[in-house]
Amino acid sequence: MRISADRERCIGSGMCALVAPDLFDQDENDGRVRLLAPKLHSGLSAAREAVDACPAMALEIDESRD
C-alpha cells in the first residue's frame, strides 16, 4: 500500500501532520506536505483519517501498490 501526496494541490493546512504525524510532515519553507513514509506498513487508519481531513484533497492511498 502506498500514499501519494499532490504538492500542487496542497495548501499547507497541516491537517495530515496533525492527525498522522508519523506519516506526514510539512515543508519548513512553504508548509506543503512531505511524505515521511510513502510505503505504508502500518497506520492505515491514521492515513485514512489524514486523507479525509485534507481540505485540499491532496492525499490518496493506493491499495493496489506495494
Binding site: 495548501i11 499547507g12 493546512s13 497541516g14 501532520a17 496533525l18 492527525v19 504525524p21 510532515d25 510539512q26 515543508d27 519548513e28 519553507n29 512553504d30 508548509g31 506543503r32 483519517e49 479525509d52 481531513a53 481540505p55 485540499a56 484533497m57
Partner: protein, 408 residues
C-alpha cells in the same frame, strides 16, 4: 424532497432556539432543502447551502469562485445609504480570501510556512506564558469582570501582534476598527472610515518593516521583492483581523457555552486530556464564522439542484456543522464527541490558514482559565448576555463573570 418550507427572503439570523444553535428556520430549511433558493434583499435570486455534504462539496469546488470582481456578489446585509451593486467590486491587493488560483495560490504559499503544525507547537510554551500572565492580571481584579475585555480579546491579540510584528500598544486602533468593520449593518461612512484607518495604519507599518525589518512575519514578507506595499497591506489586514477576532470570540462564547453546560464543564475540569476533543467540539458546536459567499462561474449541479451561472451562493457553516446526517444529536454539546471533520475552519483551498495556531490558543486558553478560576460563573442571567447577532463573526459582546477564589 419536501418543498413545504417556503423560500426564504433574506437570511434568518435570530437565535430563537438557543444562543448556540442555528436559527430554527435554518434548521427547518436544511431538513427540507439543504440547497435552497434564497431571495436576497436586493431581489437577486441566489442560493443558500445548509447541508453538510453540499457545503463540503461546494467549498472544494473552485468553480464556486471567491472573487468579487467577476460578477456582482449580492449582499445579505442591508447597509443604510449603500446603493445596490450594479457592477463587480474591484479586487483588493493582498486580500487572498477573495481570490481564486493562481493569484490565491501565489499569496497563500508565502504564508503557509509560518503556520505549520511544527511552528505552532514551538510557540505553545510561549502562548501558555501569555495566557498565564493575562490570568494573573485578571485574578488581581475584583469580580465581576468582563471576560472578553480581560481575557478573551487580549490573549489572541497579544499572540498575533507578536507573530506579525504589530505593536500591542496600538491595539485600541486595530481592535476598535476591526470591530466596526465586522458590524453587519453599519453606517456606511463609519465602515469606510474604519477600513481607511486600518489600511492607513497598516500601510505605514509595513513600510517601516520594509525600511527596518525585524524578526516577524510582516518583516519576512517585506523582504520579499515579489510583494508590493499594497499587497503587503492587504495581507496584514487579513491576518490581523482573522488572527484576533476569531479566537477571541471562541474563547468568550466557548466559556459561556461551558458555563451553560455545567456537567460537561465538570467532566472537562476532571480530565484535562479531554481538552483537544473539547476544543474540536466547541469549534463545531459554535461555528462562530458562519456565513461565506461564493459566485457561481458556470451552471453547477449541487445536491440535486442546478445553481445557475452568475448566482450568489451563501453557505452556512453553522448549519452544516449541526447537520444530523453528519453528527448525531448535533444540537447537543458533547465534549467526548470526535468532532473532527467539522467545517468550522472551512474546507477547500481557503481553509483557515491559522487553524493550528487557533487550536493551540484555545487549548492553552481554556485550560488556564478553568484551572485558575475553579469557581468561575456568569455574573448576570444567561439571557441577558449580549449576543453578536449583529456581527459577521458570532460571539458575545461582553461576558460578565465572577468567582469566589482564584488559584495560583
Amino acid at each position: 424532497m419536501s418543498q413545504t418550507v417556503p423560500i426564504p427572503h433574506g437570511l434568518p439570523t435570530e437565535r430563537d432556539a438557543s444562543p448556540f444553535d442555528p436559527p430554527r428556520e435554518i434548521t427547518r430549511l436544511r431538513e427540507a432543502r439543504p440547497v435552497s433558493p434564497l431571495v436576497f434583499p436586493d431581489g437577486h435570486e441566489g442560493w443558500l447551502v445548509t447541508g453538510y455534504d453540499a457545503v463540503r462539496q461546494l467549498m472544494a469546488d473552485t468553480r464556486f469562485s471567491s472573487r468579487q470582481d467577476i460578477g456582482i456578489v449580492h449582499a445579505l446585509d442591508n447597509i443604510p445609504g449603500m446603493p445596490a451593486a450594479t457592477e463587480p467590486s474591484p479586487q483588493i491587493p493582498g486580500l487572498f480570501i477573495a481570490m481564486d488560483p493562481p493569484d490565491h495560490t501565489r499569496l497563500r504559499r508565502k504564508l503557509t510556512g509560518a503556520f505549520t503544525v511544527r511552528r505552532m507547537r514551538q510557540l505553545e510554551e510561549h502562548i501558555i506564558d501569555i495566557v498565564e500572565r493575562q490570568l494573573d492580571e485578571m485574578a488581581r481584579l475584583t469580580p465581576p469582570v468582563d471576560l472578553v475585555k480581560e481575557f478573551a480579546l487580549p490573549v489572541p491579540s497579544l499572540v498575533i501582534c507578536e507573530l506579525l510584528g504589530v505593536p500591542y500598544a496600538d491595539r485600541a486602533t486595530f481592535q476598535d476598527n476591526s470591530a466596526k468593520f465586522l458590524v453587519k449593518n453599519p453606517d456606511l461612512d463609519e465602515k469606510m472610515a474604519a477600513y481607511g484607518a486600518m489600511t492607513t495604519y497598516l500601510a505605514e507599518l509595513v513600510m517601516s518593516k520594509h525600511a527596518a525589518p525585524g524578526e516577524d512575519i510582516l518583516s519576512d514578507l517585506a523582504r520579499d521583492d515579489d510583494l508590493s506595499i499594497e499587497e503587503l497591506t492587504g495581507v496584514a489586514f487579513l491576518l490581523l483581523l482573522a488572527g484576533h477576532e476569531t479566537t477571541a470570540n471562541m474563547l468568550a462564547l466557548g466559556t459561556f457555552a461551558l458555563l451553560e453546560h455545567p456537567e460537561q464543564l465538570a467532566e472537562l475540569r476532571a480530565d484535562p486530556d479531554l481538552l483537544p476533543d473539547a476544543v474540536e467540539e466547541l469549534l463545531r458546536y459554535l461555528s462562530i464564522a458562519d456565513i461565506f459567499y461564493r459566485y457561481a462561474t458556470e451552471d453547477i449541479e449541487l445536491g440535486g439542484e442546478t445553481i445557475g451561472k452568475g448566482s450568489t451562493v451563501v453557505v452556512s457553516l453553522l448549519a452544516a456543522n449541526h447537520d444530523p446526517k453528519r453528527f448525531d444529536h448535533p444540537d447537543t454539546l458533547d465534549l467526548h464527541r470526535k468532532a473532527r471533520g467539522h467545517l468550522s475552519f472551512g474546507h477547500g483551498i481557503h481553509t483557515c490558514l491559522g487553524q493550528q495556531l487557533a487550536r493551540i490558543e484555545m487549548r492553552a486558553g481554556f485550560e488556564g482559565l478553568l484551572r485558575r478560576f475553579p469557581t468561575l460563573q456568569l455574573a448576570i442571567p444567561a439571557d441577558e448576555v449580549k449576543l453578536k447577532t449583529d456581527m459577521n463573526i458570532y460571539g458575545v459582546h461582553e461576558l460578565p463573570v465572577s468567582w469566589t477564589e482564584a488559584a495560583r
